[in-house]
Each structure stands twice: as C-alpha cells, then as structure tokens.
C-alpha cells in the first residue's frame, strides 16, 4: 500500500522537476504530468478499494513524527479516499481534455495545474486547521494562476474578483483560527472540536468566523457574483475542475469544520443551503450563456449539498452517503457539461443544436441534464428519494418543499436547454471542435454516472431493487440505431411481446393490473405496427419508446413507492423524448415536461409526507396514512392529474399530442394518459371509499372532471386542426374518467373502467388514422381536406366506428359507458355536475360531426385528387382495435363482470346485476348483446337494400350540379368546413377563452422577470461583490446571535 503522503510527494516532485525541464520539451512535460496524475489517482484509488473491501483501516499520519502543531497530520479514511480519487481522476481527465492547449502554453501552466490538484488533496486529508488554511490559499493562488494562464480576457476580471473575495474570506478564517487556538491551545481540528464545549466566551465568534469563511468559499447566494464570474469566464476545462473538484472539496471542508463551530450552527447551515439552492437556480432561469448557466447550476447544487450537511440531526449517519449521491451526480454531470461546452464553444445555449452531429454526446448531454435534475437511474435520484423520505419521517415538511421547489426551478432551465439541443436548427457559424481526446473524458463521465447509479441503488434506504433489463434493452436499441426502421421496429415489438409474456404471470389474479398491462404493452405493440409505414432510420426513436413502455410496465409491477416513482420518472423521460420529435413540438414538449416534473414532485412530496405515518414506503402504506392524510391524498392526486391533463393542468396536452409524430400521438394519447388513470385508481383504492379525510377531495375532483369534460368538448368543437381536435377530445374523455372514478361507487367505477377501455380503443384508432391522413394530405387543417370517403374507405369506416363509440350511440360500447355513467350520477346524486356532463355530451356531437364531415364527406380538394388509401400498416392495428370494440360491445358482460367482482370489496353501494345478457340497476336495464344483434341485423338489411338500389344508380361527376344559378368549379365553394360553428362560438366561445393558458404564461413570465430582476445584483463590480460578502457575513452573524 503506497502511503497517501506520496500523492503530495509526486505532485511537488513533478512540479519542481518541470521547472528544471525548461521550455524545451513541452509535450514531454505534459506526458510527465499525466503520468504523475495517473500515479496519484492510483494511490488514492487503491486506498479506496482496500477501504471498501475492509481489508485495511484508515490511517492518520504525522509528518516528521511529531504531534500537531509541530507537524502536519494527514488522515486517509474512506471519506478522504473517495474524495481524493474523485479529484485526482478529474485532474487526469481534465489534463487529457486540455491536452493541446496546455502544451502550447508551456510548462508553467503544468506546474500550476499540478499544484492545484495537490492542494485539494492536502486540504481533504489534513486534520490541522492552519495547514488547511495554507493549502486553501495555495489552491486559491493556483486556481487564479490557471485562470490567468489559460483564459480569455474577461477571465482576468473574474480572476481578480476571486482573489480579492477569497482574500477577505481567508482573512476571517485566520482570525477565527487564532481565536480558536488561543482558546483551546491546539490547531488540530478534532482537538478544537472536542474542546469547544461552549463554556468560554471567545469560542462562538471563532467558530462563526471559521464556518462563514468556508461558506463564503462555497459561493452562497446572493453573495456569489464573483463566483459566477469565475465559472462563466474561465476556460471550460478549468470550469469543470472548479465545479467538479473545487466545489466538492469545499463541501467536504465545510463538513470537516462543522464540529469546530458546533451543532448550534446546523440549522443555520441548512438555511444558507436552502437559500442558495432556490436563489441560484431561480436566477439561472434567465440565463442563456452556457458556462454561466452551468455556474448558476453548480452553485445551486452546492447549496443542496450544504442543506444536506446541515440536516445532519435528521439524516444521522446517512448524511455523508446522501451528500455523496448528489455530489457524484454533480461531479460527473458538471464536468461532462463543461467539457461539452468547451467543444461546442459558443456563447449561447441555442447553438448546442450542433451536438446533433454527435449523437453519443447528445445522449450523454441528456443524461447529464437528467442526472442534475434527479431522474433515475442516476445517483441523485436515489439520494433525493431517501432524503425526502427521511425528512417526511421527521415531519420536516418545509425542507421537503424547498428541495422539490429548487429541483423544479432547476429543471426549468435545464430542460429548456436540452430541448434547444434536440430541436433548434443547427447554428450557421460554428467554432466547435469535437476532437477525440476531448470526447473521451466526457464518455468516461457518462459511464461514471450510469455506473454509480447502478452501484449505489442497493445502498439507498427505502429503495427497492430495480429491474434494469428494459433499460439495457433501450441501450441496445441505441447501439443498433444505424439499422433501418423495419428491423428496429421488429426488434422493439418482439421485445415488448416478450416483456408482456414475462410480466403476465406477475400480474396473474390482479385484474386491475392485467387490464392496464394489456393497454400499455398490448397497445404499445399495436401502435408500433404503424411504425412499419415510416421510412428512414428514426434515430433514437426506439430507445425512447422502450423507455416509456418500460416505465409504464414498471408502474404495474411496482410494490413500493420507490419502484413506482422510479418507473414514473423513466416513463416521463421516455415520453418527453418521443413527444419532442414532432416538427413543431419544441415548446409543447417543454411544457409537457415541466408539468410532468411538477406533477411528479407533488407525488413525491405526497409520498414523503406519507412516510411521516411511519408505515414504511410500500404502496399499501398509502392506505394507512395518519399524519396529514388530506394533504397526502390531495398532493398525489394533483400530481397524477398533471398526466391526465385535468382542467388547469391541461395546457400542455393539445400541443404535445397535436404536434407529435403520427404514430407517437396514439402512444401518448391512448396509452400514456392511462398512466395517470392507473395512478389515480391506486390512490383511490388505497384511500378507500369511506375515508373521512378524502370526501372533499372526491367532491372537488368530481367537479374538476365535469368542467374538464365540458371545456374539452367545447374547445374540440372550435378546432380547425384535426389532431388538436382529437387532443381536446382526450382532455374531455379523461374528464369523464376522472368524474366517474371520483364518484366512488360501484357503478361509477364500472363506468370509469368502460370509459378507460373505450378511450384506449377509439383514441388509438383515431390518432393512428387521422395522424396518417394528416401526413398524407400535408395539412393539419380540416377545412383543407374533404371527400376522402371514396379515396380512403377503410379509414372512413374505422373513424366512423370510433365516433359512434365516443358519441355513446348504441349498439357500440360507448353506449354502455354512458348508460352506466348516468345510472351512477343519479345514484350518487351529483345532479349539477351531471347536467354539465350531459351538456358536454351534446357538444361532443359537434366536434365528432365536424371531424367526419370535414375530412371524409364533402368535396375532394383539387390537390388531393390522386390520393390513395393510407398505409396498411396503420389500418391493420386500427382494425385489430375495432375487433376489440366489437367484442366489448357484443359481450360487455364478459368484461364487466370480472371488473365488478374486483371492485366489489371496495364499495358498499349498489352493484350491477346481470340477468343473462341484461344488465340491471334500480334505474333500469340494458342489454348490450341483444342491441348489437338487433342493430346489426337492421344495418345488414338496410345495406343489402341499398346495394340492390344502387345497381341502377347513375354516377355523378363532382361538379355535375347547379348551385343557385351558378355552376361551382372549385371544391371549396361547395364544401364549407372552415369555422362551421361560428354561431356557437359567438354564443359560448367566451367560455373557452384561454384564461388558463394565459395564467400559466403569465406565471412563467413572472418567474423569468423576477429572475431577471434578482440577477441585477450581479452588477459586475468587484466592490459591490465585496460589499455583498461583508453584508452577508454581518447579517448571518446577527442571525446566528439570534439563536437559530
């Protein structure tokens, strides 16, 4: 085992030897330093491995054999081994990344670089506070030197700000050290900490000064203008080091000196961390310069870790592990992002679209962004999960709110950035340089991120083991992305089919999950069939589709809240990448993602508060919530309602579904929305019908459902865009579903299930077919279509059948839904809401008629005369679904009876009674099978009659008519389908004026304006920043005196 002192020996030795080497051999010097850093990494890594294995104990060494203060004591334990490994390896990779630029600058910069890395090693290992001060100063000097030697001109301004502010901070540290020394007579950190029992007068100010100087080094918001300047002006290669190594070191130092100050400061540290986490991210939202943005984000993340350190009394011995999960995510992600930023080399995040030329980097960019926000499978996800559960158990709800709010605000700008890279046009000019030696470090950081996520999962409390097979399958699909669509489509379908068979036994005997499994994976296979009609390679499509379906399936197999939330986030990420693929989807995918993340955090908050009831984190614990039950239920319900797009949370849906690719729309509409429904059902079952804490919730949800339905149907009726019409129709249908389940009666739930199954069937058909037609005709506008009935008869029949189901017209299954629905409403006594629903049902006919009239009836437009039927690959899944509709309509009993038995235990209310094929309630009866036979027979008779009659009919040309003494010659003049409901619009259009969209628009404008206003404090003046720092110190001293 090589002693840790050799880390310092090697670094100093090399730094001095470089001086001797002189300027002659620049490249040799670089290789020399690289070898040195590799050796340093090796030393710390071997300690890490040995300590993890437990084959050795951590050691403490004293230089020259004396005790402190006459020698320096260095400690090498697990913490030190981890951190020095992180720092040395980052140094190694950074040097590789900086390669050529370093070599050109000469040996001086290599010396400074070596000293910089060494100083961080020593500050981590030393247990002597004065030694800590010395090497902190060396770190400052070395970093300033690096900025001076390899930076742009603006970096000089940043460098001097950094020097002055850290000069002030270290001056305070020095006063603190000498006061502490005069008090306890030792410079040993452990010695000071154990002697600081608070009996002596001088100790508090000494502790405060030591603490605050380390806090200032961490760049706390808002006294951090100088720090952000350093991030934004430094060379990105140096930025990676500051963010990955310096910040990590700084956090560990804060942890190390915390005992010196004493426990009374812990709350204060948490507060500082919280302010920084929220404030820095908030100001980041208004930023568009990549490096500066990364600076804001880094400081925000440091704030989060600071919070975690301050929460020690709650997190206990898990504190360091939890801090590590965030730090390692930040370390890998931020280093990777800074390096990519260096390669892209642009002053605007909009130019990152150049990354599309490097798919692997783009994927890693996405991974880094998601890791920062805290998505699975990255370590930060595990960390945040356990922190929130622990906070919930200790009833620390305000800190839960802070962490979730800060994470959400961070997502605002990170997701925007990701969207730009995926979607914006590639920049005209670019100075990017994707040299291989610059890419390799980024790849390694990507591996670190995924590897650590996998490695840390079993160590996380309240976490269950995760099935990584689907995620690996997604990775495999990415690896074979170069293959044509047909092969990848087949592999994906085969994968889903296999997964379906694999999961079926797992949900055996659980009808609820079986129904949703059929919808999720069965529906997935059917909608994927339509993919065969696509040409080209569809880069990335199949990996993301698999992610979404893996997430959906994971919801069904989840036993605990962790599994469930993990799957929920995987599904969210996958669906985001699917939705953003549409041509004009950028803003819609963005708002989808923000609503989803917001909703997910509400769910997470609900789960965390549920943990306060101390029943563990299995999903069944939701039924035993004793602490703040109404809050828990309301938070989780609202979270799920962001996915079901209920009124107020729906504004993302029309754009996201309307602009998505033709086969993505049915996936996200018919299938993905059901995830929200499934979540709500789980919640409702857990709560139980008679729970006294949730009666108001159901009442409110019922009203929301009813109003959502009405608004959705009205908006659909006034649409000209065919896909948006369907999207609004989805909102309305989900309103029905929410309403039905909120009634919490037996028949209400039967109605809910019928609507859910129906919506899955018909919305998949409609979006598949209308989507394909829209692509084929080259327009979304229905008034530019017409007369397609003869060109596309199979499409017409499929759409006709679907709208019969939506309209609730006998004999198809839509009527079954309606019949059950009105029975349930009457039984429940929700008459006002019922009236709204009834009214909405009438309006539904308006948009259904508009859809079939404008697209299929009327006159063929001139430019569509040569159109043919849409691809068979779209029709095949549609007709399979139609078979489903027919079976459900003819044999409703076979579906409804098992459901009825399943929900029997949950309700005491009236049930549906079957007499043969007749369904009966106290209100009346309905016989689906007989109606089917009667209507079917009548239909066949009429059809036969028509065929007989039409044998003698004469074919009429399109314009073989005379219209008001005028012979029309353009199809538009005889097929008026633009704004056909102008009259209704005049009468009730004000009801659908986009108040909610305006509300959310103004909310987002407000946030951005507010951020823009706050960041004015970063005036660029060194002196202002110095005043901020001094003011910050004074304010927090006063607060700490106040006895926090």
């Amino acid at each position: 085992m090589v002693g840790p002192i050799y880390i310092i020996v090697i670094a100093l030795g090399i730094a001095f030897t470089l001086g001797l080497l002189g300027k002659a051999s620049k490249s040799a010097g670089w290789v020399f330093v690289l070898a040195g850093l590799a050796a340093m990494t090796f030393i710390s890594a071997q300690w890490l491995v040995a300590l993890l294995e437990g084959s050795i104990q951590g050691i403490q060494i004293f230089t020259a054999g004396y005790k402190p203060p006459y020698s320096i004591s260095l400690q090498m334990g697990l913490e030190e081994a981890i951190l020095t490994t992180l720092i040395n390896s980052l140094g190694l990779l950074s040097l590789l990344y900086l390669g050529k630029e370093m070599v050109q600058k000469g040996v001086e910069i290599l010396m400074v670089f070596m000293v910089f890395i060494m100083s961080m090693n020593v500050t981590i290992m030393t247990r002597d506070i004065f030694n800590l001060f010395v090497f902190l100063e060396i770190e400052t000097i070395a970093l300033s030197g690096l900025i001076l030697l390899i930076g742009r001109k603006t970096a000089f301004q940043a460098g001097i700000k950094y020097l002055i502010i850290s000069g002030i901070a270290s001056g305070l540290l020095l006063i603190g050290i000498i006061l502490a020394y005069s008090h306890v007579g030792t410079l040993d950190i452990n010695g000071i900490a154990s002697a600081n029992n608070g009996l002596f007068r001088i100790a508090p100010i000494a502790g405060f000064l030591i603490l605050i100087s380390f806090i200032i080094e961490l760049k706390p918001f808002p006294a951090n203008g100088w720090g952000i300047d350093v991030y934004s002006a430094s060379h990105p290669g140096i930025g990676a080091l500051i963010s990955g190594a310096s910040a990590t070191t700084g956090l560990y130092l804060l942890y190390k000196v915390l005992p010196v100050a004493g426990e009374e400061y812990l709350y204060f540290i948490t507060l500082i961390g919280a302010i920084t986490f929220i404030g820095s991210n908030l100001t980041g939202t208004a930023q568009s310069q990549p490096n500066r943005l990364l600076g804001y984000s880094s400081i925000g993340q440091v704030g989060l870790v600071t919070m975690i350190l301050g929460l020690q009394p709650i997190l206990g011995d898990r504190t360091l592990y939890l801090a590590f999960t965030i730090i390692i995510s930040h370390y890998a992600a931020k280093a990777g992002l800074f390096w990519i930023s260096g390669m892209v080399n642009s002053s605007s995040i909009k130019d990152w679209s150049i990354l599309r030329k490097k798919p692997l980097l783009l994927v890693l960019f996405g991974a880094f962004i998601l890791a920062l926000i805290g998505f699975p499978p990255f370590p930060s996800f595990n960390g945040k999960w356990e922190i929130l559960m622990k906070l919930g158990e200790s009833n620390q709800y305000h800190w839960i709110a802070v962490i979730l709010a800060g994470s959400f605000i961070e997502a605002i700008y990170l997701i925007k950035w990701l969207g730009y890279a995926i979607k914006l046009d590639e920049p005209v000019e670019n100075q990017s340089n994707f040299h291989l030696t610059k890419q390799i470090p980024v790849w390694i950081m990507g591996l670190v991120l995924f590897g650590m996520g996998y490695y840390l999962n079993p160590f996380t409390h309240y976490a269950e083991a995760i099935n990584y097979i689907p995620l690996l399958f997604a990775l495999l699909l990415f690896a074979i992305d170069f293959l044509p669509v047909s092969i990848k489509n087949t592999i994906t379908i085969a994968g889903l089919a296999y997964y379906f068979m694999l999961l079926w036994p797992a949900v055996e005997g659980d009808l609820l999950r079986q129904i949703f499994l059929v919808m999720f994976l069965g529906g997935g296979i059917l909608t994927l069939l339509a993919g065969y009609s696509k040409k080209g390679k569809r880069p990335g499509f199949y990996s993301m589709a698999i992610l979404m379906y893996a997430g959906l399936a994971g919801l069904l197999t989840a036993k605990g809240m962790y599994d469930f939330f993990f799957s929920w986030e995987v599904m969210t990420a996958g669906s985001y990448f699917l939705i953003i693929r549409g041509k004009r989807s950028l803003p819609h995918a963005y708002s989808y993602m923000l609503f989803s993340i917001g909703g997910a955090y509400l769910i997470l908050g609900g789960f965390a508060i549920a943990a306060a009831s101390l029943n563990g984190t299995s999903l069944s614990a939701l039924s035993m919530v004793t602490v703040l039950p109404t809050w828990v239920y309301a938070l989780i319900a609202v979270g799920f309602m962001t996915k079901t797009a209920s009124l107020g949370l729906h504004i993302w849906l029309p754009g996201a579904h309307g602009e998505a690719e033709s086969d993505v729309s049915p996936m996200v509409s018919a299938i993905l929305l059901k995830a929200g429904v499934f979540g709500l059902l789980l919640l409702f079952i857990s709560i139980g019908a008679t729970n006294p804490h949730s009666q108001e919730i159901w009442y409110v949800l019922g009203w929301i459902g009813a109003i959502t339905t009405l608004m959705g149907n009205m908006s659909a009726a006034f649409q000209e865009d065919a896909k948006r019409l369907l999207a609004y129709s989805s909102i309305a249908q989900l309103g029905y579903i929410l309403f039905a389940f909120s009634m919490m009666t037996h028949i209400g739930w039967l109605a809910g299930f019928t609507y859910t199954i129906n919506h899955f069937l018909f919305k998949a058909i409609l979006f598949l077919i209308i989507g394909a037609i829209v692509v084929k005709l080259g327009t979304h506008n229905m008034y530019e279509m017409g007369g397609m009935i003869k060109k596309m008869p199979f499409s017409f029949i499929a759409v006709l059948i679907s709208i019969i189901v939506i309209g609730g017209i006998p004999p198809l299954s839509g009527f079954a839904g309606k019949w059950l629905f009105y029975n349930a409403i009457l039984e429940k006594g929700w008459y006002f809401q019922g009236a709204l629903i009834f009214f909405a049902g009438i309006i539904a006919f308006l948009y259904l008629f508009k859809l079939i009239f404008s697209v299929f009836l009327g006159q063929v437009k001139d430019n569509h005369r040569n159109m043919k039927e849409i691809s068979a690959w779209v029709l095949i899944p549609s007709y399979i679904l139609i078979i489903g509709i027919m079976l459900f309509s003819a044999f409703p009993k076979d579906v409804l009876t098992p459901i009825s038995e399943m929900i029997m235990p949950y309700f005491t209310s009236e049930t549906l009674v079957w007499d043969g094929t007749k369904a009966m309630t106290s209100m009346g009866y309905w016989d689906g099978s007989t109606i089917m036979i009667v209507v079917g027979t009548a239909f066949m008779l009429l059809l036969g009659w028509l065929i007989v009659l039409s044998a003698k009919a004469q074919k009429v040309e399109q314009f073989n008519i005379v219209y008001a003494a005028e012979r029309p010659f353009r199809p538009e003049t005889t097929h008026v389908s633009h704004n056909i409901y102008a009259g209704y619009k005049k009468a009730i259009g004000f009801l659908v004026s986009p108040v909610i969209t305006v509300f959310w628009d103004q909310a987002s404008t407000f946030v951005l304006d507010f951020a823009g206003w706050i960041r004015r404090i970063y005036s660029g003046s060194i002196q202002n920043y110095a005043i901020h720092v001094i003011f910050y110190i004074v304010v927090f001293y006063l607060i700490s005196l106040g006895g926090l």
């Binding site: 000089f156 000069g167 660029g1020 060194i1022 110095a1026 001094i1030």
Partner: protein, 117 residues
C-alpha cells in the same frame, strides 16, 4: 499596551476593507488588501502575546534549567506563514492588475464590468 496593538490591528483591517470597497484605482485596492493583511498579522501576534515574556527563541535545551519566559511560538509561526502567503497573493493580484491594464489601458475599477448578470 496590548489593547493598543489589538485596536491598531482591528483598525488596519477595517481600513483595508474600506479601501477595497471604496478605492477606484486597482493598485490602491491591492494596497488596501495588504493593509488588511498587515492588520490581520498584528492582531494574530497580539493574541499570542504574553505580558513581559520574551521572544520564543530557545537559548538552551528545553527541560534543563529554568523554564524560559517566552510568548507562545505558534502564533508567531503562523504569522510568518501568513506573511509569505500574503506576499504570494499580493504578487498574483499585481500580475492581474498588469494584465487588466494591458487589456484596457486603465486602472479604473469601473471599466471592468464586462461580466455580469
């Protein structure tokens, strides 16, 4: 006497900070910074001082003969180190000032506000 030295140290620190905040000339800011450092050093020395004690220089081997009446050597050693570090930082600051001057041809602090928001 010790009080006078402590007060001098504190005054120098305050003066230094005031100079950093108020001066417009970069060189003056660096000078103010050295004042700040000097104040710190004086403060440290005075905290380690023991009345009527001599300099911590041992003329005989400790443990033999009478115990010498000296001040605590540790603060003095610390100050020595701090002075060296202060020198390094000041030199680096001056290097920066030079670079900034070469860039814009002025030493006015207000002309270096390119980085903001």
């Amino acid at each position: 006497m010790e009080q006078v030295i402590i007060i001098t140290g504190i005054l120098l620190i305050i003066l230094g900070i005031f100079g950093i905040i108020r001066s417009r000339n970069l060189v003056k800011i660096v000078l103010a910074f050295t004042l700040f450092n000097t104040g710190l050093n004086i403060l440290m020395i005075s905290i380690g001082y023991i009345r009527n004690a001599g300099a911590p220089i041992l003329s005989q081997i400790p443990g033999q003969g009478e115990i010498p009446n000296i001040v605590d050597p540790v603060p003095q050693a610390l100050v020595l180190t701090a002075i060296v570090i202060g020198l390094g930082v000041t030199a680096l600051m001056l290097a920066y000032v030079l670079k900034l001057y070469q860039d814009k041809g002025t030493l006015d602090i207000n002309s270096f506000k390119d980085l903001k928001w």
